[in-house]
């Protein structure tokens, strides 16, 4: 582990930032899935 990394890890509020990041990543993934699912629904409903 390089010195920068070790130092960076020591300095940040790990849990709060990681929790924020995980929540945001889940939101992003949901948008990805929804964009495809709504297309599937729309295309299917046209049949």
């Amino acid at each position: 582990m390089n010195a920068d990394l070790k130092r960076s890890e020591d300095m940040r509020p790990q849990r709060a930032a990681r929790r924020t990041a995980i929540i945001l990543a889940i939101i992003a993934a949901a948008f990805f899935v929804l964009s495809i699912v709504q297309q599937l629904v729309l295309v299917h409903s046209h049949h």
Partner: protein, 539 residues
């Protein structure tokens, strides 16, 4: 708090790591990663610019001069993809990496390893994208919007393009997550949200936009990929799909994307104008609310890109009025910049010149945007050079000028040296003159009916095209001055920059030395409201 750990930490690593590989490839330092982003963006700016020179050379006079029509289409497509995803967006992320932590008093970005990954994905994405020029069938040539069915008729390069866009999307989403996590969790004690610099506010809101729309783009191109290679029919009318659905999904991404490329520019300009007018920004809270309002409206206007596809009248009216509403918060911002300058003790250093040019020229782009918000008028403007003129005023004299202004503004802080004001002004005047020679005649071409995305045209359009091309070549050449100024400032300038580079500057970044130490705030800064640009905001 972030700094509790920092205070307890017995630090022995104030200097950057030795060795090129460890310093740059393995970097977790926000300033080094910011520098990498900015160098990458500048490189892409010149690659995308070279494509633009090819386009303008072909359009210099009527008839086919230099290239086959298909190659011309490849150039227009790749020019847009490279400039949007490779130049403008990474440049803003680079500026955010450099400035956001030191503006809010944080020691670094919240997630430094992810920060490293966000950057290092990008060179691979663009190698992949640019390599399609050498593939059988050539590079993607259906325009950056990648509309089916045209894009599906191209060669296998679509798979490379889709994967490259996935990589860029992942990079952008990780960057956005990092910025939000940093601003929400890493602010120094006393740095309330409504005391933050407007650049940080603009990036916080932009990051939420990125988070919401980049996955939608990823979804859209994934469906293109499965339509092309896996037999699905999302956008294939023959299989029960609908190509217009693609346009809806694409522009649900595409319109907020426009604001992703302009909101950070608003933030930069809101930092520069108060500094050189020597007055606090007029209406700080109104500026914050205006950015939030523009971001909200950006989600409900996407169909104004599709007025001519045959929308129901009710939809056209809704999207027309919603689009025109955006002029209100944008007007708030423009008037507040002007009011900040009003009766200020103004000086006109290079960053201020670019900022003033931004306010004037971006507003021209904004006005032509309001013109094409009108449905009946848009039926005339659609697919003409008027559109090309409009979005280049917004993106070149808007976004790119703001990035250049930001670089001149913060370059002495980054390098510890002053740049050459003479050559900075040479760069400004050449850019400001030639960019108008380049793009203003394109309004007339569009109104006269010249279609966009064509390599040849009617002789009636010859004069304005020649003028536009000459402007283009000279604007392109002018940017070499910029590279010269930056290189001179970083390595050869003898003039040292003080901590507070500009007399009227306020904010935490000016309390650090120039250049700042490798690790910015080893101990949390004591927030003195009088030092902050907006510390005493009551209105």
């Amino acid at each position: 708090m972030a700094h509790d750990a920092a205070l307890m930490h017995d630090d022995h690593h104030h200097e950057a790591p030795e060795g090129f590989f460890h310093r740059w490839v393995m970097s977790t330092n926000h300033k080094d990663i910011g520098t990498l982003y900015l160098i990458f963006a500048l490189t892409m700016f010149f690659i995308g610019g070279a494509f633009a020179m090819g386009i303008r050379a072909e359009l210099f006079k009527p008839g086919m001069q230099l290239m086959q029509p298909y190659f011309f289409n490849e150039l227009t497509t790749m020019h847009a993809l490279v400039m949007i995803f490779g130049a403008i967006m990474p440049a803003f992320v680079g500026l955010a990496n450099w400035m956001v932590p030191i503006m809010i008093g944080a020691p670094d970005m919240a997630l430094p390893r992810m920060n490293n990954l966000s950057f290092w994905i990008l060179p691979f994405a663009f190698c992949l994208l640019l390599s399609t020029f050498f593939m059988p069938g050539g590079a993607p040539a259906a325009g950056w919007t990648m509309y089916p069915p045209l894009v599906l008729q191209g060669g296998d390069s679509i798979a490379f393009m889709v994967f490259a866009i996935h990589l860029m999307g992942i990079s952008s989403i990780m960057g956005a997550i990092n910025i939000i996590a940093t601003i929400l969790n890493m602010r120094a004690p006393g740095m309330d949200l409504l005391k933050m610099p407007l650049f940080c506010w603009s990036w916080l809101i932009t990051a939420f936009l990125l988070l919401a729309v980049m996955p939608v783009l990823a979804g859209a191109v994934t469906m293109l990929l499965t339509d092309k290679f896996f037999g699905t029919s999302f956008f294939n009318a023959g299989g029960g799909g609908d190509p217009v659905l693609y346009q809806h999904v694409f522009w649900f991404f595409g319109h907020p994307e426009v604001y992703i490329m302009i909101l950070p520019a608003f933030g930069i300009i809101s930092e520069i104008i108060p500094t050189f007018a020597r007055k606090p920004i007029f209406g700080y809270k109104a500026m914050v609310y205006a950015i939030a309002c523009i971001a909200f409206l950006s989600f409900i206007v996407w169909s104004h890109h599709m007025f001519t596809v045959g929308l129901p009248l009710g939809s056209e009216l809704f999207f027309m009025y919603a689009t025109m509403l955006i002029a209100v918060p944008t007007g708030v911002k423009v008037f507040n910049w002007v009011t900040t300058m009003w009766r200020g003790s103004m000086t006109f250093e290079t960053p201020m010149l670019f900022a003033i040019a931004f306010v004037i020229l971006f507003t021209i782009g904004g006005f032509s945007g309001v013109m094409m918000a009108l449905v009946p008028a848009d039926f005339q403007y659609n697919q003409t050079y008027f559109i090309v003129a409009h979005f280049h005023y917004v993106l070149v004299t808007g976004a790119a000028f703001a990035i250049i202004a930001g670089v001149y503004y913060w370059l002495p802080k980054w390098t510890g040296n002053m740049y050459s004001e003479f050559w900075g002004k040479m760069h400004f005047w050449n850019s400001a003159i030639w960019v108008n020679v380049l793009f203003f005649p394109q309004h007339f071409l569009g109104l006269a009916g010249m279609p966009r995305r064509i390599p040849d045209y009617n002789v009636a359009f010859a004069d304005f095209n020649m003028i536009s091309s000459i402007g283009g070549f000279l604007f392109g050449l002018s940017q070499i001055i910029f590279v010269g100024v930056v290189i001179h400032c970083a390595w050869f300038s003898k003039s040292r920059a003080p901590a507070k580079v500009w007399e009227g500057a306020r904010g935490l970044e000016w309390t650090l030395s120039s250049p700042p130490p490798h690790h910015s705030f080893v101990t949390p800064p004591v927030i003195d409201d009088s030092v902050l640009a907006h510390g005493d905001v009551l209105h």
